[in-house]
């Protein structure tokens, strides 16, 4: 992948270099005063089309005359550099690269900026004939994000599977030489636990794959409010055991079209997480409403919350905010990834709002099933379960 970026960078630099050479050759060879009007017009046209071509590139191109310090920037470079916010830093990095080229060096660097959102820029510089430097600026934020997700996924997958496999191997080894019945029983029990954990991970991965490539043949129209009632009832016991309140409010009927069992498992996952990450005495609130012809279900807790940095990555496979805590609560690290895929599969979206120490709210938006007659009135207490 890196080789691809490098090669594309070099190609862009070469194209830009060739274009500049042509511009310079034209401008040098022809004496302005003696130049016939037709030739001058042709040169202007060519210059314009070359600049237009440079402007079409998504990569920023800066051409600097080393002797005079004058620079020529294409449209992308003009939009990436400037005197405000992150633009100042990109401009500074481009200037530094021009200085490097002036000293006879060429090369590349990656600039990471964190003001607002984190962004990555690849800045490459090289000298061209005629005492010029060409600097290219490429916004590689999205590429970097994908690279990180891929690398983390492979590392996490091997780690998640290797841990129970290693445990099973070590436990079986101990079991091999053990004669005491009580110890044998304990070791066997641990082997079963670890095997189940491994099996859950594989099941979740298969689920994820099925959802990603799944069709809509299992779909039907149903009232999502009923599903929410089922989910909340199922979790009442675990919430009570943890000293938490669990409530459901909202519209009486929420008709959707989709896979009922998938949506059930998705909301179970969200409620389960809210309970896991709440402290005793708190409350988990589930609310299903209709807004602007869409169904919005929110699951709100007053738990430990999620930092802004983690919020961006929690829907990735195997991403864990607090590794120690996640393992202690028995998660596979795939829950929210499955949730996200189910929502997307149903044409919806999911959003999280969270503040550390104050709690989190997961909001799922799903398209409302068209023929539904919706009663927006909650019951007397406003609570359905």
């Amino acid at each position: 992948m890196n080789l691809f970026y490098f090669v594309s960078g070099v190609l862009i630099a070469l194209i830009a270099s060739a274009l500049i050479k042509r511009i310079v050759r034209k401008s040098k060879l022809v004496d302005e005063k003696k130049m016939p009007v037709v030739v001058a017009a042709e040169r202007d046209n060519q210059l314009e089309s070359l600049m237009h071509a440079l402007d079409m590139l998504a990569t920023g191109v800066v051409v600097a005359e080393l002797a005079t310090g004058r620079t020529l920037r294409n449209k992308a470079a003009r939009s990436m550099t400037g005197v405000r916010f992150v633009d100042v830093l990109v401009e500074q990095a481009a200037d530094e690269m021009i200085d490097e080229v002036k000293k006879g060096f060429s090369g590349e660097r990656v600039l990471e900026t964190v003001s607002g959102t984190t962004r990555f820029f690849k800045i490459q510089g090289q000298a061209t004939s005629g005492q010029r430097a060409i600097v290219t600026i490429e916004d590689i934020t999205e590429k970097s994000r994908i690279d990180t997700v891929q690398t983390d996924f492979v590392a996490n997958l091997s780690h998640e599977l290797k841990t129970p496999i290693g445990a099973v191997a070590a436990l079986a080894d101990s079991l091999n030489g053990e004669t005491e019945t009580e110890v044998v029983g304990r070791l066997a029990e641990r082997i079963v636990t670890e095997s189940h954990r491994m099996s859950r991970i594989v099941d979740d991965l298969l689920d994820l794959s099925r959802i990603e490539f799944g069709g809509t043949e299992e779909w039907s129209e149903f009232d999502l409010a009923q599903v929410l009632v089922e989910v909340v009832s199922t979790h009442q016991h675990s919430a009570k055991r943890q000293g938490l309140g669990l409530s459901l409010t909202g519209s009486a009927e929420l008709w959707v079209r989709g896979d009922r069992s998938q949506l059930n498992s998705m909301f179970s996952n969200l409620v389960d997480n809210a309970i896991k990450y709440s402290e005793s005495g708190g409350v988990v609130m589930v609310e299903g409403t209709i807004k602007d012809d869409e169904i919005v279900v929110s699951v709100k807790d007053r738990g430990i919350g999620i930092s802004e940095r983690d919020q961006k990555r929690i829907f990735e496979r195997f991403y864990r905010v607090d590794k120690a805590r996640s393992r202690a609560t028995g998660g596979t690290g795939l829950g929210l990834s499955i949730v996200r895929h189910i929502v997307l599969e149903h044409g919806g979206s999911i959003d999280v709002k969270s503040e550390e120490g104050l709690g989190s709210t997961f909001m799922v938006t799903l398209p409302k099933f068209a023929k539904t007659e919706v009663k927006q009135v909650p019951d007397e207490t406003g609570v359905m379960a």
Binding site: V83, L89, V114, S115, E308, R309, E355
Partner: protein, 243 residues
């Protein structure tokens, strides 16, 4: 003559552009320091502490350039105000960068201790607000926008209130045994660093107002002092050569 003025304005543009770059580097370093603090990233802390030397060097060079302009070009009126303001802003930025370094040093001291999520949340908010303040104040400087510069003081009030909220939260977390006393003290100091960064941003915005209109903040302390000693001439008393 024209050539001399051209060179002067080039020099002025160059120091303005460098102060904007310094401001951007500082704005960038605030969230980095917060990430270092909240994630216990000791390597990142070292990097930011060392980067401050470069910042100090650039500040010193910028000041030297301003002194050179003052000495060789004798600017007047708005140009003079601009150079004086840039010299003062450089000091504010340099001091703010030191506070960022202090946050990193505090990260080393609390390394290995858990921080109550509630406190982490408020730290993130303070960091974000301090960053917003500096981004806005540098934007006001770049645009010579005195109205925007005047609004920075109001923005700082929110950071001050977050600071008070944070101190209150530290007491609560400590009383619930959520944090050690040592960590509580360090965090209280860290909160003070963010609050001071906000104050420096306000100072920078005041310099922008000075550039645009010559405005200077009323200094209540000086007025009180004059009233106390009954000197209505406005001259401050100076020690006599004999004393």
């Amino acid at each position: 003559m024209d050539e001399i003025r051209k060179s002067f304005h080039n020099d002025l543009d160059s120091v303005r552009s460098e102060i904007i770059r310094l401001g951007a580097s500082l704005t960038e370093s605030i969230p980095r320091a917060t990430a270092v603090l909240l994630s216990g990233d000791l390597e990142g802390a070292d990097y930011l502490v060392q980067a401050d030397d470069e910042f100090d060097g650039r500040s010193a060079e910028l000041e030297a350039s301003c002194f050179e302009i003052l000495a060789l070009q004798s600017p007047v009126a708005a140009d003079l105000r601009q150079i004086i303001a840039i010299i003062k802003i450089t000091g504010e930025l340099e001091r703010s960068a030191d506070l960022v370094v202090n946050i990193c040093k505090a990260a080393r001291r609390i390394y290995g201790h858990d921080v109550d999520p509630m406190l982490r949340g408020v730290i993130s908010k303070m960091s974000e607000q301090a960053q917003n303040l500096f981004a806005a104040t540098m934007e006001a400087f770049e645009q010579n926008d005195s109205a925007k510069a005047a609004a920075i003081d109001d923005m700082d009030s929110y950071l001050d209130s977050l600071h008070r909220q944070f101190i209150q939260q530290i007491f609560e977390s400590h009383s619930r045994s959520k944090i050690d006393l040592q960590v509580a003290v360090q965090l209280a100091v860290v909160a003070r660093f963010y609050e001071r960064i906000g104050d420096h941003a306000v100072n920078v915005s005041e310099k922008t107002r000075f550039i645009v209109s010559g405005w200077v903040r009323e200094r209540g302390g000086i007025e009180r002092y004059k009233a106390r000693i009954g000197d209505m001439t406005g001259d401050l008393p100076r020690p006599s050569p004999e004393s």
